[in-house]
């Protein structure tokens, strides 16, 4: 036996055993709940059922390219994510800047802004479904009070308005989160750079653009990353509000994956789609980090 395999010595083994025992349960849980399912889902995405049993093939991935439902769902997901993220970011930033200044009653205002975020998405979905009901809903009811005609405003039932409706609901629920993170970022910025800018005679806009935004970058990165990941895998709100309808107008990729797996029981294809979504999320995340994350240039 070569000398290098000293770990077999009795003493070494004893030293090694106890830590291994302590790590083992955590490792077992991780392996069985995370690593094994991941490998399993890769396996089934690369297999197809035939009359003679499962065979290895890339058929599931090939099918993605010619599946109109998948491609449309992908476009919907991107439209939904970009529009909702844009609105949430701009509104959240505006609110954060506004409430960062010292104004009266801002404590109350801040607290009330957080309510939507605390509600479960399912509850938000149900509440908005009722509010958006064209006949009995609060929104059309209010509009009718002001003498507006609401016949064409069928919100979740109209192919033109349905996407807008689901985006609006997400903006309503998640703008407070963006606001909260950005506000925390703003409050962490020290006074000195502002004083320096004031002395140098920069305008308010210049101060915002050259001082506030660069110093806020870490918070912006976090908020964009988290929201993008959430938006790309949105499920519960849309499932309750429209179930992907009318027709296919608000079907996102997560809904389609759910249907494929648990309604049609085609787990292989569903797994293949999930990996595409995972890859997309990773690519977008890397882009964000490249663009927004600057390594500290010395001190």
């Amino acid at each position: 036996m070569p000398k290098s395999r000293r770990f077999l010595s009795a003493q070494n083994r004893r030293e090694w055993l106890l830590p291994a025992l302590f790590i083992a349960p955590a490792l077992a849980v991780l392996l069985s709940l995370s690593i094994y399912p991941l490998i399993y889902s890769i396996t089934i995405s690369l297999q197809q059922e035939t009359s003679s049993g499962a065979v290895w093939s890339v058929g599931n991935f090939k099918r993605l390219v010619s599946d109109n439902f998948f491609l449309t769902a992908m476009v919907h997901t991107l439209v939904y994510a970009v529009a909702a993220l844009g609105c949430e970011f701009l509104l959240g930033l505006g609110l954060a800047l506004l409430l960062n200044s010292k104004m009266r009653g801002r404590g109350l205002f801040r607290a009330s802004l957080l309510v939507p975020m605390m509600l479960p998405s399912v509850v938000v979905g149900v509440v908005w479904r009722l509010m958006l009901n064209p006949d009995f809903g609060a929104i059309n009811g209010t509009l009718r009070r002001f003498g507006l005609k609401t016949e064409s405003l069928t919100w979740t039932a109209s192919p033109k308005l349905a996407m807008l409706s689901v985006i609006a609901v997400d903006v309503w629920q998640w703008t407070p989160f963006v606001f909260l993170v950005l506000l925390a970022g703003l409050q962490a910025i020290p006074e000195e750079p502002y004083e320096a800018a004031l002395i140098d005679g920069s305008s308010r806009w210049q101060t915002f653009w050259h001082v506030t935004l660069p110093l806020l970058k870490p918070s912006i990165l976090i908020v964009l990353l988290l929201r993008t990941m959430d938006l790309l895998r949105v499920f519960d709100q849309i499932f309750i509000l429209t179930e992907g309808g009318p027709g296919f107008a608000t079907e996102t990729i997560s809904l389609y994956i759910y249907r494929t797996a648990f309604r049609f029981f085609d787990f292989g294809y569903a797994a293949a789609m999930s990996f595409v979504l995972l890859a997309l999320t990773n690519v977008i995340s890397v882009i964000y980090i490249r663009v927004l994350h600057e390594p500290q240039k010395g001190t």
Binding site: E243, P246, A249, R259, R263
Partner: protein, 425 residues
């Protein structure tokens, strides 16, 4: 080292505690039932059965949307966890074609019986055979739903309209009622018709009776999809015409939206299921007490036919107690027990019960229900129904929301169904 031994001992001790208790000699059955009135009746029956037979029955009750996936995954992984399962009939071909259910015919023969008695309605028993109507028996029908045509008797009399016998009558009546009732003697708008056009099950269920009445067929004799036939397109055109007299937003309506309009008296006609009938006479919910009439579905070029929607009970192939399970199954579906279920609100699947005086007195629509059920049609029998229904529903919904013309919608639906079948081969 001592620590390892101690840990092993603890683990062994924990495992031995999980060992089944050998004292329970009582027979044991496990049942999967749906939430709601259908499953509730079977649950009650199971409790009654426990009291009289020496059997302990465990019940897993699941909401409709989860029941299929739970049962399918369980049977597919052959755990033998369930001895009896409730199935909605469109799921049956998938379960039967994957050989997940127990063939009941040999069990009947062992008991010296040729099969289920002739009191069961033929269209219901046909659903339990695989292949449809002709094959072996894999289930028994428990709840006998089929669609009915609901209409407002009072409004039809007021505007001297005949009871709707054809889809053209329906369209004409919808037009008359909507025009005359919108002027609003009592201020309220009444829509001529109300339907569900939400993609998926809802749109398809409300469309199939029109499709069949117009002579449409989903598949031709060789199994190729033919939804884009001229008959199919004409049926969709009629659906869109009816849409003009449906409340705005009907494209996203589900059963509860339609129910709300009928109960509030804001819509005059609809295709619907018997489960709603009792609520029309409930003063707490209904503004139309005594004003609703129920009849069989209107005709087109062909005699009108309802979609059948029965709850079946089957024994999974991997059940370890199939003989005991069959005992319970035969008991729960016998005439006396099914009468109990009918009294709990479920339409029966036996002719004798539809004619039972006590039940008829409580359920005035039973005569219409029996006629509808006996002439009903099942959804196309294919293991890929969930997928096909989803695709078909999306295009029906798209046509109703104005995204696609009827011809385009049917052509695209046909192509998509073709793709599903091709993939399945």
């Amino acid at each position: 080292m001592r620590l390892t031994i101690a840990l092993t001992l603890v683990l062994l001790l924990a495992l031995s505690a999980c060992h089944p208790n050998p004292q329970s000699l009582r027979k044991q059955l496990t049942l999967a039932v749906v939430s709601g009135v259908e499953g509730e009746a079977l649950k009650q029956a199971a409790h009654d059965y426990e009291a009289q037979a020496n059997v302990h029955i465990d019940i897993a009750q699941l909401p409709y949307t989860n029941l299929f996936e739970k049962e399918f995954i369980d049977l597919k992984s052959r755990t033998g966890a369930y001895d009896l399962i409730m199935l909605d009939d469109p799921w049956f071909p998938r379960f039967a074609s994957e050989q997940l259910l127990t063939d009941l015919s040999p069990l009947f023969q062992q008991r010296g019986q040729s099969g289920p008695d002739s009191d069961f309605i033929e269209t219901s028993i046909a659903l339990c055979r695989h292949p449809y109507q002709t094959g072996s028996l894999f289930a028994l029908p428990y709840v006998g739903n089929s669609q009915l045509f609901f209409y407002r008797k009072d409004l039809f009399e007021k505007h001297s309209l005949k009871p709707p016998a054809t889809w053209n009558d329906v369209l004409a009546a919808a037009k008359t009622i909507q025009e005359k009732e919108s002027a609003g003697a009592n201020g309220g708008q009444i829509y001529g018709y109300v339907m569900r056009a939400e993609q998926g099950n809802a749109a398809v269920a409300d469309f199939m009776p029109i499709f069949w009445a117009f002579g449409g067929e989903m598949f031709d004799a060789s199994g190729k999809p033919t939804v884009n036939s001229p008959e199919g397109v004409a049926a969709l055109e009629l659906m869109l015409e009816l849409g003009k007299y449906s409340p705005p937003g009907y494209v996203s309506f589900n059963a509860s939206d339609v129910g709300a309009h009928l109960l509030q008296g804001t819509a005059a006609m609809s295709i619907n299921w018997p489960a709603w009938i009792s609520s029309f006479n409930d003063p707490a919910k209904s503004k139309v007490i005594g004003k609703m009439e129920f009849t069989t579905l209107p005709s087109g070029q062909k005699q009108g036919q309802a979609e059948i929607g029965n709850w079946l009970i089957a024994i999974p192939r991997d059940s370890r107690n199939s003989a005991d399970a069959l005992d319970f199954l035969l008991w729960a579906t016998n005439a006396q027990q099914m009468k109990q279920s009918a009294q709990r609100g479920n339409p029966p699947t036996r002719k004798s019960l539809f004619n039972d005086p006590a039940l008829v007195a409580k359920n005035p629509a039973y005569a219409a229900q029996l006629r509808s059920l006996e002439s009903s049609r099942p959804r196309p029998r294919t293991p890929y129904w969930n997928e096909i229904e989803n695709a078909f529903g999306i295009f029906l919904s798209k046509a109703n929301s104005g995204d696609l013309s009827p011809t385009e919608a049917m052509n695209q639906a046909n192509a998509e169904i073709e793709k599903i079948l091709k993939r399945a081969k």
